[in-house]
Amino acid sequence: MTTEFVWQLPVSGDGRYGEAARTRRGERAGPAHPYSPGVTDPRGQRFNFFDHLHQVARAADLAGFDGIRIPEDPFGDEPWIVAGYVARGTRRLRLITEFAASRGSAVYAAKNAASFQRFTAGRFAWQIHSGGTAAARRVLGDFAGDEAVLPRIEEFVTVARGVLTEAPYSFKGEHFEVLDGGFRGALSGQLVPPVYLSGASEAALRLSARVADVHVFDAASPPEIRAAITRLRALARESGRSVVAGLRIDLVARETEAEAIRDAHRYREQAGQETEAPASTGAGLWQGLNRRGTGAAATLVGSYQQVTEALVDYSGAGVDSFLLSAVPHLEEAYRIGEHLLPAVRSRIDPEHRRVA
């Protein structure tokens, strides 16, 4: 496949340049008034963070990304609603909507997905996550044991694909049941949402080998990623399938290496996070810089050229789906779209190379 580049929506708030603390731009619900007395503020309660999320999605579309990931964040807005909210304002973006298989009936999820596909010309995709620890799942009304989490995802995907592609369709499993189901009429024949799964365990890889379209790896060094992809591909071959390898990674890319390092340091100090800078504190992969902010395990820090090289290396290791983010997401969508994507694409994609 053509390598895809996916941006991310900061559903629970975003930092700004030189300021790691997260705010919800446009949010007017609170009592805090940002201006001095006497300075007029015409906004009233007219806007909130949804307006800004819409801006970020548009920016990603305009800047040439192929998709946008709408993560499930317990402190943020609900991804399916956000996906619908940005659907009409975007034209090309794949809307990768994250949720857990505990959300309810798989048939109902598939039916909602069919509407999404009808309204977006087939741009809707799913990222299904495990729901976190058992305690975190109970907070979300999910009392399934650890051993049930992966099998439930598999049943969920099986049932959703079943009702989207066959009628009548019946299934009776541990977690989901449907009798004489399947969509007819206008809801039939809609694209099954591409399924993104993740997880580093052997069981997670085996699950992806059986049912995922894309398996997303957390950021790690290119050799580690190459080894993981080799394992994924071997397992997928056993299932007679192929699975695209994805990489979830953050970027701090600036015109010069020095600027990038300065900004990364400032961000780390402000965020107060336990990050491991590389020994040289130079360009390269910084662990945990923004894990709590964007969810990425590591961040590529460097000049445009350095970060471009690093992304090309990952491509060489087998990554065909890059799930990127950077703070602040609106401004950085343009920066990455302008300064990195054309260069990376021209290096890794023969089509682009010819044009470039």
Binding site: R24, F50, I81, V82, R88, G104, S105, V107, N112, G141
Partner: protein, 386 residues
């Protein structure tokens, strides 16, 4: 008192009149699986989808003065959660009435979706909670809880939804739902809880409605039966120390003269095949109490559209023309408004109206009928929108 009037979004397809099933604007209509493009430009891919037509209707409804609209959900229709979020930015005052069954969603997910939709729309989401007919139909949706349990589950579902709404921490040990220290995060927790329109005619339904519903929603039934039902709901709710309002979901055909209105019905009826009419009026094995109550009182043989007039200006054959609930009001603008006033006097506080085609008729009804509604006080009584 105030009266809220809603419109309906025709998720189940849209013929261009009550008189005939073709031409139609949707890309699908029951009984006609031929795909059409919702734009009227022809058979090519013009880039439009049915959602573009639905967007026109929603905007027409808010321009014409409706509170918003019911967005029905059936096995063959698009889903109201998606329609609501997709149309959030294209509407200003339109309130999205979302029907759904508790068995479809984890209540914690439903709470987050709803709060986010409130944020996305400035508080324009509301529910039509349906518990469903039960039986094999329910398994189509992937739901396997039996009928009387189902209302118990509805009650628990709404218990949890309310419990987590303002932030928690909320814990719950129900038969169907459990949660441990759950709650909506700020700022989602600041949103208003959505109004609940509750559907269901059985005793189990009424018990559940009494606890959680703001409005008890019924299809139109013969007026005396409807009054008895509303009285019963209000009485049961009062026993719990709560108040409940009542709402009627009703199709209408309103024209400048009564003759024109009935002519619309006559043409629609005369275009039906004999077997369609004979099948109508026979029970279909559904468990729905509401459907049976609507069918009660039909004559044994139906030879003319007039045989389906069950009281002045009330025609009982709408299900023949486009499916769904079957009793509707037919008349000139004044007559339709008078019948609605009569429903107000016997206990209705809100209406969900519908007429085909929903785009043009939203304007007609908004312009010609809504201004004539006096409510029970004799004074104009519509609640301001927005």
């Amino acid at each position: 008192m105030t009266i809220d009037v809603f419109w309906r979004i025709p998720t189940h397809g849209e013929p261009s009149s009550h008189r005939a099933r073709t031409p139609h604007r949707g890309d699908w209509f029951p009984g006609d699986d031929s795909r059409r493009k919702p734009g009227l430009a022809g058979s090519g891919d013009d880039g439009f989808g049915y959602i573009d037509y639905l967007a026109e209707i929603a905007h027409a409804a808010e321009i014409a003065g409706f509170q918003g609209g019911l967005i029905p959900s059936f096995p063959m229709t698009d889903e109201p959660w998606v329609i609501s979020s997709v149309l959030a930015r294209e509407t200003t005052t339109f309130r999205f009435m979302i029907p759904f069954q508790p068995g479809f969603l984890n209540p914690l997910v439903a709470a987050r979706m709803t709060a986010s939709l409130q944020r996305a729309t400035g508080g324009r989401a509301l529910y039509n909670v349906i518990t469903g007919a039960g039986g094999p139909e329910q398994l189509w949706w992937g739901d396997n809880v039996m009928h009387d349990d189902r209302y118990g589950r509805t009650t628990e579902f709404l218990d949890v939804l309310r419990g987590v709404w303002q932030g928690g921490p909320f814990s719950y040990q129900g038969r169907f739902y459990q949660v441990e220290d759950g709650g909506l995060p700020d700022p989602l927790s600041r949103e208003d809880f959505p109004e609940i329109y509750f559907s269901g005619s059985s005793d189990a339904a009424l018990a559940s409605a009494s606890k959680h519903a703001d409005y008890y929603l019924s299809w139109l039934e013969p007026f005396d039966k409807l009054k008895a039902k509303f009285d019963r709901v209000k009485e049961r709710t009062a026993q719990l120390g709560r108040k409940i309002k009542c709402a009627v979901r009703v199709d209408i055909v309103a024209r400048p003269t009564e003759e024109e209105a009935w002519e619309e019905i006559r043409r629609g009826f005369d275009g039906l095949g004999r077997e369609v009419i004979e099948r109508f009026g026979r029970p279909n094995g559904s468990e729905s109490v509401g459907a049976a109550r609507q069918r009660a009182g039909l004559p044994a043989s139906i030879d003319s559209y007039r045989d389906l007039i069950i009281e002045p200006n009330v025609w009982s054959g709408f299900a023949l023309l486009r499916g769904g609930q079957t009793n509707g009001i037919v008349g000139n603008y004044e007559q339709v408004a008078e019948r609605l006033d009569q429903l107000v006097q016997l206990g209705a506080d809100a209406f969900i109206l519908a007429s085909t085609p929903h785009l043009e008729e939203a304007y007609r009804v908004g312009e010609e009928v809504l201004p004539l509604i006096r409510g029970s006080t004799g004074a104009p009584a519509l609640r301001a929108v927005g």
